[in-house]
Symmetry: D3
Subunit: 340 residues, 6 copies
């Protein structure tokens, strides 16, 4: 099995049942998730051997996060224990024209205050084939940025392929801060995933005038940006998902990849959404699986889109589908007929 390393924060997600508003909730559903952890769970379901690198407090809440990862087959040997708290995000799942709402309470989490000494990156990347990170970890603060850079250098020492999901989070840093940190890390990246907002805020590439809240997508603007990203940073692949947000209940979903020579746009799915959170992470997970197991980047993109379309029908942050299920969908059976 291929050893894949992901690194980042795993948070406690507290979501109201059904479509309840926060003020109605007498209970919260408990999920442990985070961008990089969600990717790790995806990969475990596909039969790869993911290792998640993070730091969690030495208390039962931290342990519960670890148990969540172990349950789905993610190796947690490299999770440092200590620090103050597990970061939290509160989630209220919208419907129709009411958007889902996220309230973050992630400051002072163990991983955001972790230090280099918490991790032995040479051990971590020994025999690894792939490293995935996101723009969230460097945004957690100076420590996060340092750790990410150290991880990337170690990954390169061990000839590990590197992917990033730019994932701009406006509550964590400004575009100026983001660009200052992130542009310096791009030299280590082979596969760059990011939509136009990410490209602009994190890397400074102005898209065109497309406005994502309108549900319109401008492929041409993407092509232009992707070329410039490739030229500037030498990525092997530049990739983005294309979400058409009709409402909180219905989205169109497809993706675009550029290998430096060719643009390939995937099939599009119209999705009735069960749980939209983690949609992008499941895309990254599918893409990594596809690119790590074959040279067919178009198939990798279709796999990633199909996998993440399925994620939208699954409760929780993590995608819980098998390779066979994704393949059946992308081969054409989207009829939803009962599988007896």
């Amino acid at each position: 099995m291929k050893k894949i390393v992901t690194m980042g924060e795993i948070m406690l997600r507290l979501s109201t049942p059904g479509h309840q508003r926060f003020v109605q909730a007498e209970s919260f559903d408990v999920i442990y998730g985070g961008g990089e952890a969600n990717v790790a769970v995806s990969l475990a379901n596909y039969g790869l051997d993911p290792y998640f690198v993070s730091k969690l407090p030495d208390n039962p809440i931290g342990q519960s996060a670890i148990n969540h990862l172990r349950k789905f087959g993610v190796n947690t040997d490299y999770v440092a224990r200590g620090g103050e708290r597990v970061g939290i995000y509160y989630l209220e799942t919208g419907a129709s024209m009411r958007a889902s709402t996220v309230v973050y309470d992630r400051a002072h989490s163990s991983i955001s205050e972790a230090v280099l000494e918490d991790f032995d990156f040479d051990a971590i990347f020994k025999d690894a084939e792939w490293f995935h990170f996101t723009g969230i970890t460097p945004a957690l603060g100076e420590n996060g940025a340092k750790i990410t850079e150290a991880a990337l250098k170690a990954a390169k020492r061990h000839n590990v392929t590197v992917s990033v999901d730019l994932n701009y989070r406006k509550k964590l840093w400004t575009p100026e801060q983001a660009q200052k940190v992130m542009t310096g890390l791009m030299q280590y990246v082979d596969v760059c995933i990011g939509n136009e907002e990410d490209a602009e805020k994190v890397l400074g590439f102005k898209p065109g005038d497309s406005d994502v809240t309108k549900g319109e997508l401008e492929i041409d603007a993407y092509k232009d940006i992707f070329k410039r990203m490739k030229e500037t940073f030498g990525f092997k692949y530049v990739v983005t998902t294309l979400r058409e947000s009709h409402s909180a209940s219905d989205n169109g979903w497809s993706a675009l990849i550029y290998n430096g020579e060719e643009f390939y746009q995937s099939k599009k799915y119209e999705i009735r959404i069960v749980d939209r959170v983690g949609g992008g992470d499941s895309f990254a997970g599918g893409l990594i699986y596809g690119l790590a197991t074959s040279d067919d980047f178009k198939h990798a993109l279709e796999f990633a889109v199909g996998a993440s379309a399925l994620k939208h029908t699954i409760f929780g942050d993590a995608n819980l589908v098998t390779v066979a299920e994704v393949e059946a969908l992308i081969q054409g059976d989207a009829s939803g007929r009962v599988q007896r």
Copy 2:
């Protein structure tokens, strides 16, 4: 904060979980609601100062209804305590072509047997700016009609603006009974809300031949009726919602207002319904907020329609949205993208 008075019945709603039929239910979800109480909750969420006038038994079920109102910021100082019972309605939430079903068990409730002496209307309307009632309270019986009339007279003594939601309920009275009582009360009303069924059954205005079960709406018929209503009763505004009932799961939703000079028809929303009950009440709440805080009646209508569209996505009788959320929707963001 503006003191707004609403008066009516608050009932115990016992609804089956999810889309269960009554015979399947092993539990009922507990909500306390009623037309005028729901309006009060809306207004509290918008930062106004609503007072709810009613009567509830002096037992823990009555107390629970009061606590529900207090939780959302409604003042309950004018709720008389005593009488026999809290009225009940059982609700089964439909889906697709299966309609929601309501079984009423509201006879003999405390408010339906309340007497004039239960309320000190001069205290109630002191410093008040608005009074809202519906056609349900007079329909509860002779006492209800008397109390409503006394309230209306007191409201006028205190120069309070009055709105009514005609809300015809065929299980409570006949059109003949309704017209006999309600036409006499219209002289006190400034803002009249009612659809064509209400106009016909409660006030005796024959619409045209539009048939609401067909999901067709005939704006022209409304315009004719509205003019006649305005002429007959001297309303400042005549207003109706325009519901296109595609199915129990999907509705089109818009509204029409007439200020005696001009008709204005709102934007229309296509809604995936979570809970349709209280949709009309949330419209009234939004309209009162709009008209009580600005002279822009078109904006008030858009606010009311946007607010009530959002209500359809919220479990329970009451609308639980802020002014900011409604404004964001009516400014154009119906994409349902996650608010992080």
Copy 3:
């Protein structure tokens, strides 16, 4: 009340709550159901007098299955007690492009190992007017086939009308096995329900080249097959449902009947699905009700389609609607407006 006999297996359905995947489930919803039992529940709701014939173990799980049937008015006097276990099927309800998944664990159930001596068919069919069975019981094994044949012979002795739902189950037998058993039983059948897959696998009639996973329906192919089925077996009616599986969340739903002279295709419903399981059984239940209470086979078909459309909005295996509710729908009110 008309005595109607159905015979078959009632299983314990263990379904994950909401749209959870199996690996997420901390609890299973408990439903007792099976093709023929579901038909019996439908008929009880329509005011007929259904008797369910089966075998269940003499333990509390078997008793729970009986209690489920009794609750809805099905007579269980002819359920033999004994044997090893209640058969189980695990269900995961899909959404959008993710299909529902069924995992069967039904081998060694009491009914699959029942013997002729468990049933007194002359008592069972005394005063009965109708007998309904499906292709599942003979597929349970040699005993099942023998019992079915004995039941059919007894039914004919008592001049009972017989209907079958072919219901091919590929996990229970091969087409060869199915055809060997089932073609011999068709001589006793008056009303044959089956879609093109059933016709081919169970009776050996090659449809055309229609592919049900594409959501396309080929009425002409059906007409051809129906004629041949009628000719070969002398059925009074040949019937099929026509499901257009847009996704796990949305289906088109209609049906086709052939009385040897005329083809009649029903109205089509577009359904938002709550629970698709038992859709076919509720169709059979509606059809039997229609044909057993009137000669108007077209109305019977519309009743069956309307009834089963409603079933898709009801949680569980069984349809829980009244004649009045079905009639209201097929008379044209599919607006889903609240019934107060």
Copy 4:
């Protein structure tokens, strides 16, 4: 199977989950129960053939009550349909020194407004062996008293044994009203169940100075009263349960019977209470079973006490135990060891 008739009110019980107070409840657990209906369910579980006589509204809530009874094997053919509503009682389950609280909302129920014409008592008592009623039905109002008397006369015409559970309810009538009605009915009674409060309030027999809230029991006082009851009314058996209420969580539980010659006091159980409601009804059910199937009145008493001790461990109003389970307990196995 022995046909046993019980007659009375079946109510909707709305109980808060766990030990929640009413003001905390976001849902109510739904149970249908009532003194006489609970007895019927007990008897069905013991293999007798109970018929429940009552009246329920022709709506889905009334139907749900019927389905509850059918589920457990009670025949509902004699339940008239019509009237206004299903009576309700709200229940909050106490713990430790906090008592359970019941809020009644039963006025105007269908059975309380039923008339003689709703029931054909000669059909009802044809082939019946036993009739059980309680002091609650006559307390529902004049109609209830008339119907009860008519039933008793018919029962006697058909040589049916009659038992009564005196069951004084202070919210329904005063001792004066109770005595006026009930003493006249005692001539039809063979088996009289009632504790000292019942004996005093319903029949006018002053016990001694025992105070049931102190948890003390005075057997001697009971013996004196029983003798006088027997002398006055000619009962075959006089019976009472002996509850020692240590707290809402723990009770001592035994019983006393008098056959005119001999007093017999049962074994006592110390019970950890799960649900105390229906404890007395399950005692009556056990006693009827015992006396109807054997002449050993001491065993009948032990059976009744054991059965009702078990009831206290079962959620809901009704006792759900088999004869074998009761026998095992009264034979001495109260160890609670797992039955594998």
Copy 5:
């Protein structure tokens, strides 16, 4: 109604359902509570007019805390809005010999970072009769200590009676830190509540050698300490609860008060525990009610003990009982018989 002011932190309590361990929880029950807020809810239930002073973030979680307080009748006009987060505590409810476990995540909460400018204490204490605080608020940090001192000075300016619950929290500060701050505040206190651990850690009074984990209580040691506390700080009353912790499921519960002349020890209750959290707060609430409404300090103590005994049977942090319910208990009815 008497205006009573309490000030402190209200936290989000996330507790596992039933007796689940943290690693088992798929959901958390949501309760908002804290020592001083719990006292306020008690007082509202007793008909007084409590105002809660605190700071909460301007987000939906902060709003939910406010709604919780309003629901139970607590005035929230003096709750400042702003800051970073709502403090959290995770709770796992033990059973038998397994203790309940609390994991705190309360650092950086809005109230812990509040400043003097957030509160207008002269407005707050205008017309107030009582002020209650605990040793927790000063322990939150330097700001907490300053705010508490300012509040106490203002309270004294307005002739408000002051009570304190010493409530030592070892995770918030050391005994040295506690004593340094708290001894300076005692001059403003009239009623001091604290057990021997509090007296030692917070005020420096060494009790004797009693060891609370042994479930033994040494009244004599208490008497000695109370006398010294009274002498040192001039308290009007010194009070402590006396908990005998037999297990996580069963506790003995009583209290001791000293008015400078006389010691009075209350009746003792043996409690089956439903939810032990907030037991001490409910005692303080009962004591304040008793002392604020009468001069009978012995009755006040009995009221406080009875009230808090009842709290142990109620889910959540807050006590939800009425004066009548407490009085019934302390008058002697602890039998737990159903209140119909």
Copy 6:
């Protein structure tokens, strides 16, 4: 970390919520457990490195069982995949004098039909220190017995310490069958756990006349049997738990060990039971931990008894406690005071 191997069946436990009877259940709580798997989970919680050996079907239910084990840190690399089904046991949790009831549906499970080729025992026992099995696996049938013997031989080849929990299951085999198989396996066993029923049924040692349903324990009888067991089979330790079953809610709990020279009886705990299932397994887990990490067999016994006492307070089959929690209990803190 010490590698510990356990082998056996892991079943799907379907338990009714709370204390519901089977016929009441609308849902089942889902737990995966079995004697040997439960031991493995215990050991993982204590920081050892347990491997579970079994066979599970290659379907989502089998996968769910694996995920359960992984979640708690059990290595599942040696679980073969294939076969027909996951065995099931239905559980109804009793209370007071009502015993818990188990209905087994475990025939034809994958492990019961596994063959020698499914396991590579030399790989499995490489570097292992301990092997634990129970009398259940050999009872599953001829295959189970063969596989157990092969495992034992391999264990001995690898110098692995072996423990057995005799665990007689009367539904799986007769005493004759048990003795025939089990006595032959005892030569490989170092530590033998079994109560008097096991000793008699599995090994043929007649105890005295103690009757476990009476809650009486006869230590002397045990001593005699233990000596004979030691003599016959050369065990290093013979151990039994001593359960005093006061009721389904309350048990006394202690244990006895014999090392060939000395008998040691542990401290006794009186337990309020939350979930009694797995109590014996948690004892075995505690004992193995104790004996594998120290020579102090008395401490090992106290650890085992304390650990398993705690298990009785935890929902599910598996014990979820840490070494620190067990040590705190056995050091004397059974007060259940809140751990803040």
